[in-house]
Assembly symmetry: C2
DNA sequence: TTGTACGCGTTATCAT
DNA sequence: ATGATAACGCGTACAA
């Protein structure tokens, strides 16, 4: 089913077939149609490997993500995949499970596969050996979620978003706000969010407090234990939605009403947060849009024959989903009950 | 950075380089080491496109899934990806968003990319035009989640699992059990689960009742409305966990206590179900294992030069996660309160 | 044990 | 407007 069969069937040379299919304008209408008919009849599809070898372009994009078990990255990949499909590109996804060695290996494999460009989320852009290796390969790339002045990044300003959130919480009377995060070493995003929290707390003159949760295990107990201990927090700002969901459960286990006695806010805005009870307040990132944007950025540069540099970085807006799990702080002194009917 | 440079640097022919790297046993130890040193020094990685063209094998597997937004498929893909990485294979994932036309297109693209085999989840195996086209391509493939006697499938027996669950619920006093499902046309799995429900209800002499929820929207209102109407259900058996989560929320909105007044059971066993309040009871599928198994099955056949047939089908066990959201039916007649201390 | 030469399927260059 | 041909990088049959 190669171009040779099509050529034979259409009674032309292989060169003409190639031209008729790739640059229809430069062949005679009659031959063009003959070729098309033959190709259609044989259900001919050009062999992409041969094409890649010849053109030194694979029309494929490598994607390096920490995991697909976190809906954030699954959604991002969905965005990348949709946009790639539209443009006739394929994607080669590889996950690292947050292991730094895995990043290097994956990069090698993607390079060998001849991807035209890469979208990646690394553990820590500042210290990444992977990025150093990537620069040497001179492959176009864009980071997703990571933020670093030396690299082209499609990301959100998590630090400011968290700072704004904390400021808002303070404005609503919260004084005991605890930041819940996972293993900081695994994610520069978590570090940025923590910075935003610390900045806002300092500005409000409040003492910061951090609760670090082990990565894999639900670990509700740790949260429950903290919630039971005085001074009890009035708000939990969580580094991501998966943690926030666990905090919601922990609050229930600890017997604290959300949001009356405790506000819980996540980060990511995963779709499932709309279905919980209470629904999960969260700083929502446009995950799918991050993927789509990163891919479009790359394609633009590929067409132009250039590579995205730090100047190509884009900061997408995140929005606060002020859902049910957040509210103003409970008053310190309980008020008398509101009378049923106006006096 | 081709094999030519390595050959030059090692002072041998390209043929020797190829042999030294692919079949080390048949070259002299000294040359072998020289070649390895040169390859290492140049960070040489064989061009996969050239290799694919020459060998007519791409060491890549196409993966066709409905969506990545449902954690079920994201987890499955993670399993496929992990197993593929171990075996030195790449994966090319494409999603269809439950659109049947998209299945055909995707198949064409995967074939053009020269994948060695395919793993796919189609809307409905019985009526799939995609599967017909696939057979004509003579590409090895395995269906994941789909179940059909004419195809090799890695799946679970959802029908029996739901039937058993319903039987158990009946045994625990439930009499008003409603099945909640999405658009049936989009998924033969949902149809099978419904059959299991209907069978068990018939066996118990109970009247079946189905609540169909529109696919995308949360649609809590529909569930709330049904919960408010007499006769109120005592149990909701949901076709998947995403629906079940919504039912959990709907129950809270309707003021029904779970599981005391209403049991809610899902299907899939997504990881997030452990973190909700109450935790989500669910018939858990081994999603990741389904992916891994499908891939291993394919690789085994690729090695043997054969193609999996219907006889290669595997049914993996699913397990009932009897978490907090399910319990025995409330007694019809309220009992007198239990005395605090024994008489 | 190693080297030479060919072909995998495609597209671009250069003739015609 | 079309055809012949070389080249992309690799693995292998065959020759040495």
């Amino acid at each position: 089913m190669s171009i040779v069969e099509v050529a034979r069937r259409a009674g032309v040379s292989t060169a003409t077939v190639s031209r008729a299919l790739n640059r229809p304008a430069i062949v005679a209408p009659a031959t063009r149609e003959a070729v098309r008919a033959a190709a259609h009849a044989l259900a001919y599809a050009p062999n992409e490997s041969a094409r890649t070898l010849r053109l030194q372009k694979s029309r494929s994009i490598g994607v390096l993500l920490p995991t697909l078990r976190n809906p954030v990255f699954a959604e991002c990949l969905a965005g990348i995949a949709a946009e790639a499909a539209d443009a006739g590109y394929s994607i080669l996804p590889l996950t690292t499970d947050y292991r730094r060695e895995a990043e290097r290996e994956a990069l090698q494999r993607l390079a060998a596969r001849g991807v035209d460009a890469l979208i990646l989320t690394v553990a820590d852009a500042a210290s990444s050996a992977t990025l150093a290796a990537l620069r040497r390969l001179r492959l176009p790339y864009v980071l997703a979620y990571n933020r670093h002045p030396a690299h082209p990044c499609v990301s959100v300003d998590g630090e400011s978003a968290v700072a704004q959130l904390v400021a808002r919480l303070c404005g609503e009377g919260h004084e005991r706000i605890v930041m819940v995060s996972g293993t900081l070493a695994a994610s520069d995003r978590a570090q940025q969010r923590l910075r935003g929290y610390e900045r806002a707390m300092a500005q409000a003159g409040l003492a910061p407090e951090r609760l670090e949760l082990p990565f894999v295990e639900p670990a509700h107990e740790l949260v429950v234990a903290r919630l039971a201990r005085a001074p009890r927090p009035s708000a939990l700002v969580c580094s991501n939605d998966l943690l926030a969901l666990r905090c919601l459960r922990a609050a229930a286990l600890a017997g604290m009403k959300v949001p009356q006695e405790l506000s819980v806010i996540g980060f990511d805005g995963i779709a499932l947060g709309r279905d919980t009870m209470p629904s999960l307040a969260s700083i929502a990132q446009p995950n799918e849009e991050i993927g789509r944007t990163a891919l479009r950025c790359l394609l633009g540069h590929l067409e132009a024959g250039t590579r995205p540099g730090p100047a190509a970085s884009l900061t997408l807006p995140c929005t606060l989903n002020a859902f049910e799990s957040m509210g103003p702080a409970a008053r310190r002194q309980p008020q008398p009950p509101v009378p049923r009917s106006p006096a």
